[in-house]
């Protein structure tokens, strides 16, 4: 696979040409924060962003998406088949997407996600500015060792552009005449990676991520669940901002003719009170502490048991999103590491 | 021709809020003739005491669902007056732009949904859909445009949330403004259509003139909805807004839960016709042409013509909005973060609601909590005038069939576009 070195103007020209060809969603300033949004001109792109308010999973599993349409002809699938580029995804968010890929492909594959995913080209960009809560360095997700379609890394004022898949190479066709990266550049890039592994540690996890499942296994009755969850609003913010949370609800609505309509799926979260409520009124996780514990177990153990990957990529969004300031996984895991009490 | 007339319109329909018309007459002699307002009073001025200046707009916006933007602005202007806050020119222009959306929404609702059925001989807008689909389509388009515009700039369709002391909670994008300009240009033909309809129906408007004092905001630079001092057709002088109590002279009437008002005479009128009568020469070209076409002339004192003035104002709004947007885009939108330090003080604010001039006054303590409030609502200011109109009109029509009298009286009330739900918020005239 090729690695090109391009200057800022080339980058801008390249992005502008992509915008002409397909939908491009890129990291942009939104007030004093950053968000992925439809990119209308390369000049708006902010690859120096610290963290995107909403995880880019939103473009693969939208907050609200139509699964089926129904009417006189019965139910029909609705699939999103238009290609697009996600430009500037941070490595930890890319890991989140790769985990979602596993979930939606395994067992009975979900073609709604997979179709949209197949249309996506993932342009990953190494982090240039650490956000206030990121701890990807502790979760081994500060750098994307493999995966994604293109990897951008800033080297002084230039960018190294690495094609990581056939799709990525195709996107880079326009860069064919640009110079290849030299050994020195690659050396520099390694330094950037090493630097990022250290930089993205605004919270310091005292256990190795791979030790979390075993630790959680012993912590089911730990007092921390009760203590922390006392302040929980059951607002689900920690779920919804998470790049690896994919749970959903399904609802149905009709048009005014009451005959035609749509079945949609929306984001859902296990922290919400009614997540495990069944008909008849029994709630299988009635208590805040039960729901609170479930979230950590799901991230640190249940999904790990299934896929051998910790379902927390250290983006730190939940830490900021929690109004009650109780959703910091590092705090909780460190506390568990200290043992009971 | 002698007859006994006994009309009691309990809760007149197709107006905002509850109002009654009572007429009893025999042999042409009027025994009882009253415009009553039995709406439940809501005591906003008492309720806001103790609440922070940050929350006042949120509360008083709820005085009225149909002029919530206007109430918000009157409150914000009063708060800014009390705390000595100056807003940027950009904020000022954006506020005018937001304010206009409500005028368009309210005027098109009033003329199209509430008044048009009378003129087209229907009981409501529902049968109009069948009988006059094009009219309804036009009205819906205007109404929706006003609403979406309001939602974009105000953050919500009703009870806006972007209006804060000192500025905006969030700004629109320049792209949005460019799009809005296109949208507004797009409704100009619809307003022409509406004007045509009104023109064709104008002969159905009763010819009834009664010499009236009209009161509205007046600003030398433009046809004002948002700026200026208090003008009257009875005087050349402008009264500064902080002295509004000396203009409205509110008093409690036994036939109403709403207060009544008077200034130079025993009643005065506010609203689109009042604004027109005081500002007509400041109309922009298209609006001026529309007025001319519709036969609306400065000095008109036929209350039924208020609806015609509303159509003229819709045109004025579109022209002026386009100017404002151009101006904003030329300068480019600058991010602003309003930060306000509360301080002790008292202030007043006035803006034109679609149905007439609206005044708010508040006093705050050191922490910025409200200690006193006073709101004077346009519909209140019109109540006495409606009564005077009744008294002048009924003798002229007393010989007509009862149903016709009833319709003419209802139409008269509707012409004022009364917003009775918001008019029943009384105030203590004595202010500390």
């Amino acid at each position: 696979m090729t690695i090109k070195k391009i200057g800022p103007t080339t980058l801008e020209r390249w992005v502008d040409s992509l915008i002409g060809q397909q939908r491009v969603f890129g990291a942009q300033a939104q007030g004093d924060k950053f968000a992925f949004a439809p990119l209308t001109q390369a000049a708006r792109l902010r690859l120096d962003y610290d963290v995107a308010v909403t995880a880019p999973k939103a473009f693969l599993q939208p907050p609200c998406e139509t699964l089926l349409r129904f009417g006189a002809r019965g139910y029909e699938s609705v699939l999103d088949t238009e290609p697009f580029v996600l430009f500037g995804v941070h490595p930890y968010d890319a890991v989140g997407i790769l985990q979602m890929d596993t979930v939606f492909a395994e067992g009975q594959p979900d073609i709604h996600y997979l179709t949209r995913r197949a249309q996506a080209t993932l342009v990953v960009c190494d982090v240039q500015n650490a956000s206030p809560n990121v701890f990807a360095g502790c979760m081994n997700t500060a750098v994307l060792e493999e995966g994604g379609d293109v990897l951008l890394t800033r080297i002084n004022d230039d960018y190294l552009v690495e094609g990581r898949s056939a799709k990525g190479e195709a996107l880079m066709k326009a860069l064919a005449s640009e110079p290849e990266a030299e050994a020195g550049d690659l050396q520099f890039r390694k330094m950037v990676w090493d630097h990022n592994r250290q930089l993205l540690r605004r919270h310091e996890l005292k256990v190795k991520p791979e030790d979390l499942p075993a630790m959680l296994d012993k912590s089911y009755d730990h007092p921390v669940w009760e203590e922390k969850s006392k302040r929980c609003f059951s607002c689900g913010s920690c779920n919804l901002v998470c790049p690896t949370c994919y749970c959903f609800n399904v609802r149905e609505d009709v048009r005014w003719d009451l005959q035609n309509g749509e079945r949609v799926r929306t984001w859902d979260g296990c922290m919400l009170t009614e997540f495990a409520l069944v008909a008849g009124g029994h709630n299988f996780r009635r208590k805040k502490a039960e729901r609170y514990r479930h979230r950590y177990y799901r991230k640190g153990k249940y999904l790990y048991d299934q896929h051998r990957q910790i379902a927390c990529v250290g983006c730190g969004r939940c830490i900021g999103a929690c109004v009650a300031k109780i959703a910091n996984p590092v705090e909780v895991y460190n506390r568990l590491a200290e043992g009971p009490r | 021709m002698s007859q006994t007339v006994d009309i009691h319109v309990h809760h007149i329909t197709r107006v905002e809020g509850h109002g009654n018309i009572v007429l009893r007459a025999s042999d042409g002699r009027i025994e009882k003739l009253e415009w009553q307002v039995p709406e439940a009073p809501r005591f906003f001025e008492a309720m806001v005491r103790g609440r922070s200046f940050e929350d006042i707009q949120t509360i008083v916006s709820r005085i009225c669902g149909i002029c919530s933007v206007t109430h918000s602005f009157a409150a914000i202007k009063a708060i800014e007056d009390a705390m000595g806050i100056e807003v940027s020119e950009q904020t000022d222009r954006l506020r005018m732009l937001l304010h206009y959306s409500e005028q368009l929404e309210s005027h098109s609702l009033h003329v199209g949904y509430l008044v048009a059925p009378d003129l087209l001989g229907q009981k409501s807008v529902v049968p109009l859909v069948q009988s006059h689909p094009d009219v309804v389509k036009t009205v819906i388009k205007l109404h929706r445009t006003g609403n979406q515009w309001m939602e974009a700039l105000g953050g919500r369709m009703t009870h806006p949330v972007t209006i804060k002391p000192g500025g905006f909670a969030s700004l629109p994008t320049e792209e949005y403004l460019r799009g809005l300009k296109k949208t507004i240009e797009g409704i100009v033909p619809d307003l022409k259509t509406l004007a045509e309809v009104v023109l064709s129906l104008a002969p159905k408007l009763p010819a009834f003139d009664r010499d009236t004092e009209y009161i509205a905001l007046v600003d030398p630079t433009h046809y004002s909805f948002y700026h200026g001092g208090i003008g009257s057709t009875d005087t050349m002088d402008l009264t500064p807004v902080p002295q509004f109590e000396s203009v409205v002279n509110e008093y409690v009437s036994a036939q109403s839960t709403a207060k009544w008002c008077k200034w130079h005479r025993d009643a005065f009128a506010v609203g689109a016709l009042a604004r027109f009568n005081l500002n007509a020469e400041l109309l922009l070209p298209l609006a001026a042409a529309t007025a001319k076409k519709l036969g609306l002339k400065k000095g008109c004192c036929n209350p039924y013509m208020n609806n015609v003035a509303q159509v003229v104002e819709c045109v004025q709004i579109t022209e002026h909005s386009i100017q404002i947007i151009d101006e904003l885009l030329t300068k480019g939108l600058q991010p602003e973060l309003p930060k306000v330090q509360p301080r002790e003080g008292e202030g007043a604010g006035a803006v034109e609601a679609p149905r007439g001039i609206l005044f708010h006054r508040y006093a705050f303590d050191k922490k910025g909590n409200c200690v006193k409030a006073n709101c004077c609502i346009p519909t209140n200011q019109n109540h006495a005038n409606i009564q005077k109109d009744f008294e002048a009109l009924v003798p002229q029509i007393i010989d007509r069939p009862q149903e016709e009298i009833r319709l003419l009286l209802e139409m008269l009330v509707r012409a004022y576009d009364p917003c009775i739900s918001c008019s029943t918020h009384y105030l203590n005239v004595e202010f500390v």
Partner: protein, 248 residues
């Protein structure tokens, strides 16, 4: 199937919720395919005493309102409370933080004792009669209103969220107001509005009322973290929450 006959009534309120129905614009015609309005003072001239569904806006503040509401309830198979004033007393309940005589005197001065200016502490509809369905918000969200109407037509119980506004903020990608050090009631307020206020840069002031199990105690503790006082919180909780437990 005959279309249900629907009557719309209002008590003390700003009529903003009825306006939201009008704001459905051309969809109002679709509404008419599902229901037959028989009384709607704000929009129609007709008045009627027989109907299946009564939609009632506004709160109860006078003895005569109470009586009228009972009359409205009697023939209705379903009574729907429309908007915050009807569902929880709304902003009108701020009045209940004062004594009624004092309120009257404050507003009307010496005229305050005139009989037609009588006022009682504000009550929500369900404090007077049985309410079958609540449509929340000040004003209501007309998309939700439309959805609820369609559900009724299908014989389906509408799904009214019982989770906080924060959920909708997150779905919209709205930056939390707490990040700007403002007090937002989103975490204890029932969603369903699609969080227009935080998305427009303003805090949620709780116009849809609390979720079923609001963690108000946590909100108290959170204030400290954001350098705010209990008074700040209480003042905001009192805006729409004056009538709701547990604010005081």
């Amino acid at each position: 199937m005959d279309k249900p006959r629907v009557a719309i009534f209002d008590f003390a309120c700003c009529e903003g919720c009825q306006l939201q129905i009008v704001n459905l614009e051309e969809e109002l015609l679709d509404v008419l395919t599902l229901i037959q309005p028989v009384e709607w003072r704000e929009a129609l001239s007709d008045q009627s005493d027989t109907y299946d569904i009564a939609i009632v806006e506004g709160s109860i503040t006078r003895p005569e309102d109470e009586e009228k509401l009972r009359e409205i309830r009697a023939p209705a198979a379903i009574l729907i409370a429309l908007g915050a004033c009807a569902t929880m007393g709304g902003i009108n309940k701020l009045k209940n933080n004062f004594a009624m005589d004092e309120v009257r005197a404050e507003v009307y001065g010496k005229d305050g004792s005139m009989p037609h200016l009588n006022t009682l502490p504000t009550r929500a509809l369900d404090e007077v009669v049985k309410v079958d369905l609540k449509i929340h918000g000040c004003p209501i969200n007309n998309r939700e209103f439309a959805y609820i109407l369609r559900c009724l037509a299908l014989g389906k119980t509408p799904a009214i969220p019982n989770y906080p506004v924060c959920v909708e903020c997150k779905m919209r990608g709205t930056v939390c107001r707490y990040e700007y050090n403002e007090i937002c009631l989103g975490p204890v307020t029932r969603a369903g509005c699609n969080a227009p206020c935080p998305s427009a840069g303003f805090w949620c002031f709780g116009c849809r009322g609390y979720v079923d199990d609001p963690n108000v105690q946590a909100a108290r503790e959170v204030m400290e973290h954001y350098g705010k006082t209990m008074d700040d919180l209480k003042s905001r909780l009192l805006l729409f929450g004056s009538g709701q437990e547990p604010t005081s």
